[in-house]
Assembly symmetry: C2
Homo-oligomer: 353 residues x 2
Amino acid sequence: MTSAVGGDTQVSERAQHFLKALIERYIRDGQPVGSRTLSKDTGLELSAATVRNIMADLEDMGLVSSPHISAGRVPTRLGYRLFIDSLLTVRRLAEQEVTEMRRRLEGPGDAATLIESTSQLLSGVTHLAGVVMMPRHEHDAFRRIEFLSLSGKRVLAILVTSEGEVHNRIVNTDRTYSPAQLEQAANYLNDMFTGRDLHEVRKYLLADMKTTREHMDQVMLQAVEMAQQVMEAAEGTGDCFIAGQTNLMEFDELANVERLKQLFDAFTEKNQILHLLDRCIAAEGVRIFVGEESGYQLLDDCSLVTAPYGIDDQVIGVLGVIGPTRMNYPRVIPLVDMTARLLTAALKQQERT
Amino acid sequence: MTSAVGGDTQVSERAQHFLKALIERYIRDGQPVGSRTLSKDTGLELSAATVRNIMADLEDMGLVSSPHISAGRVPTRLGYRLFIDSLLTVRRLAEQEVTEMRRRLEGPGDAATLIESTSQLLSGVTHLAGVVMMPRHEHDAFRRIEFLSLSGKRVLAILVTSEGEVHNRIVNTDRTYSPAQLEQAANYLNDMFTGRDLHEVRKYLLADMKTTREHMDQVMLQAVEMAQQVMEAAEGTGDCFIAGQTNLMEFDELANVERLKQLFDAFTEKNQILHLLDRCIAAEGVRIFVGEESGYQLLDDCSLVTAPYGIDDQVIGVLGVIGPTRMNYPRVIPLVDMTARLLTAALKQQERT
DNA sequence: TGTTAGCACTTATATGAATCGAGTGCTAAG
DNA sequence: CTTAGCACTCGATTCATATAAGTGCTAACA
């Protein structure tokens, strides 16, 4: 997939040095950088003319390009790629910064609010849009189910997982049930399934509904149906939090209303973002999509930096930031990385307490 | 508060007619309308020159103004006010439209999703930003409380209201409790409070915690504390849903990134919006804020059209739309009104089923 | 062979003048 | 009270010109 860098030419040590300088400069200023600027910028004492030659080489290799003939050079997607993969020197975070970040993830925090704070933290420290994928509940364990009859023929089904997540759903039934009946049904399910994997339970229930229909008590049949529905609701909870979208409005390269509308629509839609994050869940450590690499043209001049988080070495979700391709990678990368670690730690601690 | 319309001059019948025409035209095109255009637009056969005189009068009265000397006229806030209060002829909605709207509010719908669909419906039909205030749970009735011990010293408190809303919160306790203890505590609270007003219950609990501290069983004390916390969570749910924010990007008058950022930040913050809506809950029927009338300068060139909704004549919330001052009032007003009625109906029906 | 200086060339951007057009206010006549 | 006419204003458009940044290329140089 990653097409060889323009022909098979090796990028000389020196050329790389200049590419790095160019990108760092471009990230600072946001404007095409010219040969003169660059010749002063790097430590090496080379004249602008020489730099021009080198830049021409870089352009041949597809690492930089100029928006028009009399402008400086701008990194291309490939340029960024090379930069990120082998040139970039990440800045270590100051101890103080880390403490501050950790502080912002403290608090009582049930899972949902923790996730929310995390996305706010991300957007806060990077000044980009922060996004955190909610852990799916598929493989939580069944803890307890309960049915409460509401007015009319409606029953409220409440499911609690071993993680302490509460899911509920109102189910319309075909007749009324007495509290005793409902309690009996709940007891049956609780005895049967407590401690077992949610997804397994659901498969089991679905099978039950099909095969043993005739052998079952009317009440039990309804109970199975209701349980099935509340579990559907629980599994559907897979979602993501996005915070700080408006930060993206600050960047000139995205600052046309047309473009922003598309992006924001995608943010409210969310499922594209969700898909994209899903693809990162396998990766270990920080993963970066530059521009079109994501496969979504709506992120064309945006980059996505992600890192997985979890509990006890088991990855349960992905978080990251979305920003313009021209983002401050050396700073953003460690921030995303650290946030993932802190969230992991916070979840672990929550487990323990 | 509504300052007399520029001096105490009466606005002549004819002038009003022209103001109406002018505003309707301006709503269509979004551009200052000149005397010639207007003279053709109205039924009356008057020359542009005459119209100019009338427009000069309207300007003196502060109902219109011109952005610069050689542009047409634009309605002012006062102009809109007069238009809305006495000139405007609302268009009746087509039967078909109403059916379509009703359809979009059908479905299984627990309260939260119904609210969400409603705000989407609003933004969908008006092409503006739709906002629905969530009903506060303060005065729901206590139905049932339950405690489940999680790993460590954490207890999951679940509260169900008679409306079928489920609220939950994880509480950190100072020691571990056995399932039996927790059940006993829950039973006590359930016996004591079932069917009573949530707000009352909470006040009672708070009082309890202060006064009878020494006379109480350790377990009960903790139970009261936990109940208190989950009820706090329930009351905190007062919130609002906003949908279709991005629709506002389509309007030229808001289409500068600076402005949009402010607006969107307010949308994510929400509490200003919430305050504003709160002020409308008393009003009967549709209520309209034009521009600065809202008191929030961030809505300076926006208008807010709201209507209350409820169950059985009891108002429980407010919904509406936010859009540019130049919005299509004759269409938007009946849409907001109808949405409020439909939501009211839907809630009522949900009650019944 | 790599580096540098010089120079012609390109192009975005800024500036200013000229023109156009929409619309006004005013006056005078009907 | 209405209308026609006219001078005037001011934004928007167009065009030409100048400016500055930056390039590519060539030739000289170490």
